[in-house]
Symmetry: C2
């Protein structure tokens, strides 16, 4: 048996999200359909984790197994030909069978894009068109509180997690260029809606709906008191996933 | 009566083109619907010219008349709120009643984008994903022949034109950055499919389907012998329209 690690990008606009579902178009089902067709046997894939409806990926990772030895570049070419144009395979690598796309994750990089300037008709599906003035100094100040190891139970829709709600954010960089605010998150792992709820909270602070101290308060709040802010899916990109073996 | 000159951008992906049609979504009909709703009377608009299905605009221009004196910035805000998100009004200006969006055109700037590198899932609707090596030197050389005053009857689908087939291309700049080839056309006017047929022809030369001399031959060919190359609509942008009064 051979195990393959696949890196890919996709435009999330026309998908219900990553995960296969009984009805509707998902990234996982499109890829499993294409792989099963080319390899002439039913293939199931395992990703680094799901992405939600409208959310994009520049560097998602999945693995799959096959009893065939596949020629990387040639196979990649065939697969891209069969796949719809809003999914693009970047790399296919033969890896040891103990590689696991989900359990082996060391860190993930997510990016979130917000337009605080004049609207553009071209980016409705590719960033959050906030079109309000944001106090970036307040956003930057509040963002510092998220960095490090915290209990993020108030920044996820998840009701229960086998691993608990502790996660570590290694880096949260915020930059502004031409009215586009870019949030770069690097962390050990992100729970459902976590990035979008953090961005939503920081924007609420930036437009004056909440005080800077709100972040600190909610990071400590138990019992659970989930924030009601969530930035929309189309502004979010899974940029890359890193694994132990690459360290 | 007041005449208003309106500058706008739109994402052509979800439109059958500019011109109002009995069936289907067009830019003109969406704008006429919005204006008629806000001004509470039937409004007809006159553009600088049509754009085809999938073709985008960064700076299309139209005019319309109203017996109401409209406050530019406030009216623009209301109109953008009513319009769908893939249309965005950039400016509304009160102009003399002898201004005409179509007959007053001095020059138009069109841009065409081609990706000759690795495909990306994010730009299928926003450029031509050629994904073939192109000999840019040949393209540049052949492009020189288009500059100036020529009979473009072999580079349009138009069967007959009241003004004949003579047009002038003032400028045709071609630049390459990160595998994206950008064609910038500035000319007196462009007939149906003219930019796309010129780009299609230059790409045919760039990939070796035709010789560089092909352009010169077809510019002189009478009787008519239309070229069979036409780059797809999604790579084309109407960047701006200029008028006499701005000279």
């Amino acid at each position: 048996m051979f195990r393959y690690k696949v890196t890919l990008s996709y435009d999330g606009t026309q998908f219900l999200g990553w995960q296969r579902q009984p009805e509707g178009r998902t990234v996982q089902s499109e890829i499993e359909k294409a792989l099963s067709q080319i390899l002439n046997t039913e293939i199931t894939i395992q990703s680094s984790g799901r992405t939600d409806a409208q959310v994009h990926a520049k560097g998602q990772v999945f693995h799959f197994d096959s009893d065939k030895e596949l020629a990387g570049e040639k196979f990649r070419y065939s697969l891209n030909r069969v796949l719809p144009k809003d999914i693009h395979i970047i790399e296919i690598k033969n890896v040891p069978t103990d590689f696991h796309a989900r359990f082996g994750v060391k860190a993930k990089h997510y990016q979130y894009l917000v337009n605080v300037g004049e609207a553009s008709p071209f980016f409705n599906n590719y960033r959050y068109e906030l079109m309000r003035k944001v106090d970036i100094k307040k956003v930057l100040l509040a963002s510092k509180d998220f960095i490090g190891r915290h209990d993020f139970r108030n920044f996820t829709s998840k009701e229960i997690d086998d691993n608990g709600f502790i996660r570590e954010i290694y880096k949260l960089d915020i930059s502004v260029q031409d009215d586009i605010v870019t949030f770069d998150f690097i962390g050990s792992g992100f729970m459902r809606y976590m990035v979008r709820m953090i961005v939503g909270t920081l924007l609420a602070i930036g437009i004056g709906q909440e005080e800077v101290s709100f972040v600190h308060e909610r990071l400590l709040a138990t019992p659970r008191q989930t924030v009601r802010y969530k930035a929309p899916g189309q502004g979010l990109y899974l940029v890359s996933v890193s694994y132990q073996e690459e360290a």
